[in-house]
């Protein structure tokens, strides 16, 4: 056991780096051929928003691992509180994130 851990762990991290860098590189490669006025470029902007929204759905509604141990009502309830605080504070991100996360921690502590 060193500062990097067992060899198998190092191999796994290297594989994760490569798997992620692949998508970034592919994006750069395609972007070289695009200009910002074109339809393809616009489609990809919207696809990015949709993928991030899909990721959000996964994190909030279909989480894996530790987050799944907390009930759906706690996750959604905390998210609603965060959104409400965000709009009540005239779109202040800090107040929204702090309210949502704090209520999540309190609910997870009280119910868990």
């Amino acid at each position: 056991m060193s500062v990097f851990g067992p060899e198998s762990a190092a191999l796994v991290v290297a594989a994760a780096i490569a798997a992620t860098a692949f998508w970034r590189g592919l994006g750069v490669f395609l972007a070289q051929r695009l200009d910002t006025k074109g339809a393809v470029f616009r489609w990809f902007s919207f696809a990015s928003f949709a993928v991030l929204a899909g990721l959000l759905a996964r994190l909030l509604i279909l989480p894996s691992g530790e987050l799944a141990t907390v009930g759906l009502e706690v996750r959604l309830g905390a998210a609603v509180i965060g959104v409400a605080a965000f709009y009540l504070s005239r779109r202040n991100l800090l107040i929204g994130v702090a309210s949502g996360t704090l209520s999540f921690a309190l609910a997870a502590g009280a119910l868990g």
Partner: protein, 250 residues
């Protein structure tokens, strides 16, 4: 929103936007030192604790944050490693969890100055969901030079903070109360939710709503390729909605 061709640079909330690389760099660093720093400190501390419990070394944990630089994929990686999955299966799962970087890089790179491939690879490697969303906000700089500076400054601060937070979480893993550890995992989802609510324009709004609503059943039935399908469906919906609004406007 993306064109840098106009001569009069608009003001946003009464503040003049930077127009050159150096001004953008400063603005990006300033923006990153606010809420993104708080969120990264929270969420990467949680990741650091997770890597500690799954048997990575501290150096490897920090290295994975800096070089993978996509938290959902990192979490998939450490959870699958803990479960004893083989390297190839982990690589595929991480690739699926982090495939968002492909459309994000395509839509970000043409708005940044310079066509040098090495510069663009570096920017794509530094890019995160947060940096992408911040550069897409109405308050971000508009000229390609200032946008390049802004993204560089923003991401360099983010990576530094995240690496530090990973180490803090790794070293302090044992002392973390469980509800707090869970909240640190939640903070990222809450931040992403509000960033997506803060987007402007009909096409983006339709893409986001479609992505969430259609994303739930899609990801339920296709846990591996769900994000790709969600991107195709939601991106096309947003594109069509944007097209009809353009026609009506003209």
């Amino acid at each position: 929103m993306f064109s840098g061709s106009s001569v009069n640079y608009p003001r946003y909330d009464g503040v003049m936007k930077p127009v050159d690389f150096k001004g953008g760099l400063r603005a990006g660093m300033r923006a990153a030192l606010g809420l993104p720093t708080v969120v990264l400190l929270g969420s990467l501390t949680g990741y650091g604790a997770l890597t500690h419990d799954t048997g990575f070394g501290a150096g490897l944990a920090v290295l994975s944050t800096i070089l993978v630089w996509g938290l959902p994929g990192q979490i998939v990686m450490s959870e699958m490693y803990a479960a004893g999955a083989d390297v190839l299966a982990i690589a595929v799962a991480v690739g699926m969890a982090n495939m968002r970087f492909f459309p994000m890089a395509v839509s970000l790179m043409p708005t940044l100055a310079g066509r040098n491939v090495l510069v663009r690879f570096a920017q794509a490697q530094l890019m995160s969901a947060t940096s992408w969303a911040y550069v897409m906000r109405a308050s971000a700089p508009e000229t390609p030079e200032a946008r390049l500076g802004y993204h560089t400054g923003f991401t360099c601060v983010c990576v530094s903070v995240a690496a530090t937070a990973t180490l803090i979480g790794y070293l302090g893993a044992a002392g973390l109360p469980k509800p707090l550890g869970l909240a640190l995992l939640f903070i990222n989802a809450c931040f992403l939710l509000l960033l997506l609510l803060d987007t402007r324009g009909r096409g983006a709004a339709v893409a986001v709503i479609t992505g969430v609503v259609a994303g739930i059943p899609i990801n339920m039935y296709f846990p591996d390729t769900g994000l790709i399908i969600t991107g195709l469906v939601g991106g096309t919906a947003g594109f069509l909605a944007d097209g009809t609004s353009r026609k009506q406007a003209s």
